[in-house]
Assembly symmetry: D3
Homo-oligomer: 193 residues x 6
Amino acid sequence: MNDKPISRYPVPRVEDLPQDIRDRILAVQEKSGFVPNVFLALAHRPDEFRAFFAYHDALMEKEGGLTKAEREMIVVVSSAANECHYCVVAHGAILRVRAKNPLIADQIAINYRKADVTSRQRIMLDFAMKVALRSQDISDADFETLRAAGFTDEDIWDIGAIAAFFGLSNRMANVVNMRPNDEFYLLGRLPRS
Amino acid sequence: MNDKPISRYPVPRVEDLPQDIRDRILAVQEKSGFVPNVFLALAHRPDEFRAFFAYHDALMEKEGGLTKAEREMIVVVSSAANECHYCVVAHGAILRVRAKNPLIADQIAINYRKADVTSRQRIMLDFAMKVALRSQDISDADFETLRAAGFTDEDIWDIGAIAAFFGLSNRMANVVNMRPNDEFYLLGRLPRS
Amino acid sequence: MNDKPISRYPVPRVEDLPQDIRDRILAVQEKSGFVPNVFLALAHRPDEFRAFFAYHDALMEKEGGLTKAEREMIVVVSSAANECHYCVVAHGAILRVRAKNPLIADQIAINYRKADVTSRQRIMLDFAMKVALRSQDISDADFETLRAAGFTDEDIWDIGAIAAFFGLSNRMANVVNMRPNDEFYLLGRLPRS
Amino acid sequence: MNDKPISRYPVPRVEDLPQDIRDRILAVQEKSGFVPNVFLALAHRPDEFRAFFAYHDALMEKEGGLTKAEREMIVVVSSAANECHYCVVAHGAILRVRAKNPLIADQIAINYRKADVTSRQRIMLDFAMKVALRSQDISDADFETLRAAGFTDEDIWDIGAIAAFFGLSNRMANVVNMRPNDEFYLLGRLPRS
Amino acid sequence: MNDKPISRYPVPRVEDLPQDIRDRILAVQEKSGFVPNVFLALAHRPDEFRAFFAYHDALMEKEGGLTKAEREMIVVVSSAANECHYCVVAHGAILRVRAKNPLIADQIAINYRKADVTSRQRIMLDFAMKVALRSQDISDADFETLRAAGFTDEDIWDIGAIAAFFGLSNRMANVVNMRPNDEFYLLGRLPRS
Amino acid sequence: MNDKPISRYPVPRVEDLPQDIRDRILAVQEKSGFVPNVFLALAHRPDEFRAFFAYHDALMEKEGGLTKAEREMIVVVSSAANECHYCVVAHGAILRVRAKNPLIADQIAINYRKADVTSRQRIMLDFAMKVALRSQDISDADFETLRAAGFTDEDIWDIGAIAAFFGLSNRMANVVNMRPNDEFYLLGRLPRS
């Protein structure tokens, strides 16, 4: 299955890419053992690649009130709502790894209301879904619900911004027909030996 | 009306911002005569601000097969679909200016199927709406329709990426409850003297 | 742009119309300075024209608990929900004039939840939207909400009837592809000198 | 069941009504053997009553390319789409009588795609449903489909206007919670002796 | 009208059917005076026929907290939601007979919120509609609402299972294009002499 | 996680069940190595249990034009549409095993349009989704499309009946809040040694 195209668009060879992009790709390859296809597919447009990953890192790598697993929960629930093949598979894997839970990603992708999450996380995911699907209806009442569950206003910005950023990411993946690496499907499903 | 809050979040004073952000804001103020509120509202998070505008410029300022007015048409139609108060008002103004047409922005925001656009632009807007609302359904057939209307694959990426980026932008504006500057409402409606 | 057709159907010449319709049209022309296209497009069917404007006047011109600006708010929000090009542009203009507010019409058309309206008006617009989009769900609870906001039962009939009447009007405009006069776009946007 | 209220609003006594309205009501009573509740419920607002029935008659009583049974088909399909209790029951009865077919009204109300109608009538009903539910999408292609099925442009106006008018009527009935007369349920179901 | 096909699929002759199916059909014919078409249409697949009616009887014929009329209310409301021509007509008839109420079936099929049901039955029908249309959203809160209205957990299973079973039945009827017997339309509408 | 309830309803002990149900459960346990929770959850109602599995076997175990993997594809796509946690996880596992493909179930659950299926299977899944979501719209044109792809009318019944049966199954699982066994998540993901 590895010969299936990973994008409708030409995929550049790593060695032909600008140095900074090449460095980023080699770093992720060293860390993960493979290059996630999103890096190759988006490298078709270097300026957009740089902005995309700068935005991604600003939301996903920074410190803050949400754990990294919780941020990935937001990614998975939003991406499932947008039926994004790449993002559900790839970030589902990252979520399993970060949460050290082999079941949670499938649960959230299928029906997050039935997932093994805390009630605080459930409220977080409800808001992420509202951002993804009906952001025009967001009101003060949503902020009050989130604050009552212990989220700060900065946490709420994080939830909203992650759901919004993957609104972009899901749409780009759907436009270019991005295919996830086969490696992602099994990642985080087996106990670490 | 100018004392209405422009964001649910604290809005930094320009003089307190990092130099690069301050420079960007002063430049836009010099060019436009006022500071569009999106610059102030997003400056609450400098790293996200930088990524946001880098992405914006990569899509909206570069050369390419779409005119700048056509890019703004895509912004307006997507933002209307997401009922984004800020983006429809602000980019509606920019569209009127770029297209030198005082009617086009309202037409596209209300019902783009009735707008005074070419049949090629209509196909462009149909695709932008699909990206905004049902990106999971995008298929080869959409690309064939767009190519038959004269769009290159790079143009199609542009249409998709602009609609996707404003999917992010609209959601952020809805989360923070961003308010457009009063100046935008009238911009581009009067004949230049 | 003035040579664009204003209807899919033949538009009668004013001088060929029955006397009562001609009188009505000349009166509105004298008052407004131009003949709004709805008068010309609907004059294709004189009996329906008469019933349409009799209904319109019974709702929009009579005394009652709603201000004339509030009635136009209901028209604009319903017409935006139905994506009616003619009604949003034409009644948006009338709303700006009646409310003496150059921003309110665009705000309500884009996302009425973000508009500069009172909380009482917000409840009025919520009900108008329910009439426009899900009238089968209307229940006693809606009446209680409206009464609690200070609306009498006669006011509620007015809100419902205006939203219902423009449900008809929007559909007719969409069927005949009615085009608003260019004059409407700018009306009420400039300070009266 | 006859003591159930027929409207949320006060229902005037016939003898208290203006003469023209009283005459209309007595005429329908003489013809039908009972007073359909819509006449009583809408008589609460005499001016709106007059405009409503003038509009109704202009569409439903005039000559034209659609048979009276076909016009009632349009009413039933639109009213079912809007889940209007009064209009489906009352106009279902009229349809059975006019079509001399005891099955057709239920078929159209439940799923018009399965009803015993001609292919020409099916196209008529498809358009009526589009007017009722997505009038913003109406385009030249709809007119071409209808013309190809033998409808004139005046017939198309009739279809559109009937669906639009009952869009108003359904919403008013839902707002005032209009209850159909028990007599309607059985009307037209039995063979005339 | 009796010569219209009752299914897209071949309809077996009763005498060619396996003995148990033939017996069932003859029994229903003896009781009802005619063979409801669902028996003939589904007999095309004897194993599925047997499972279907075993399931049906397990839910509809057993003792329990819901009256037989209430079970038919659930069938009618679910079938109307799925626009199932066969089930609304056939079970509408059974509902009229079981409830001894000639109006109730049409009321529930058109807009169950306006039907002459008790508030307990209204809550039952709200849940049936949620099972039919948004079962993924069912939560503990729904169970609490139903319990507060006096339903036991076994009653709730019954409501859910009936709505779920007719979710299957409606879909099969729509797939095979099942046509109800003409006899059903009038059944239960006339006073028993 | 194994102590989480598998149903909102009491789960009988296997030894307390009627002999035929106990036999069925022990047989599946012997074959699979564990008892899928659907057997335990539905055993709360023995008659419904028997009908459910008789129906299931009539569709899923019989010979026919669809492979067993294809039938599971239909189950997964319908269950994903209904957001049924149990069915997507359990039947996703069965699909991976039957198709000997560790990726296919996730692909179909997330966005079947992007899955690695043949064009014939894509048409099969399109129809299954129509049965699941809009069965009222099924028409002769759907049958023609399926026949043109090589499906017999009996195959089409199979596709429709499987999607309809899991319409029931998904709703029951959502009503009782059925939880899949942890074993399913990993099943079929690893190469057989």
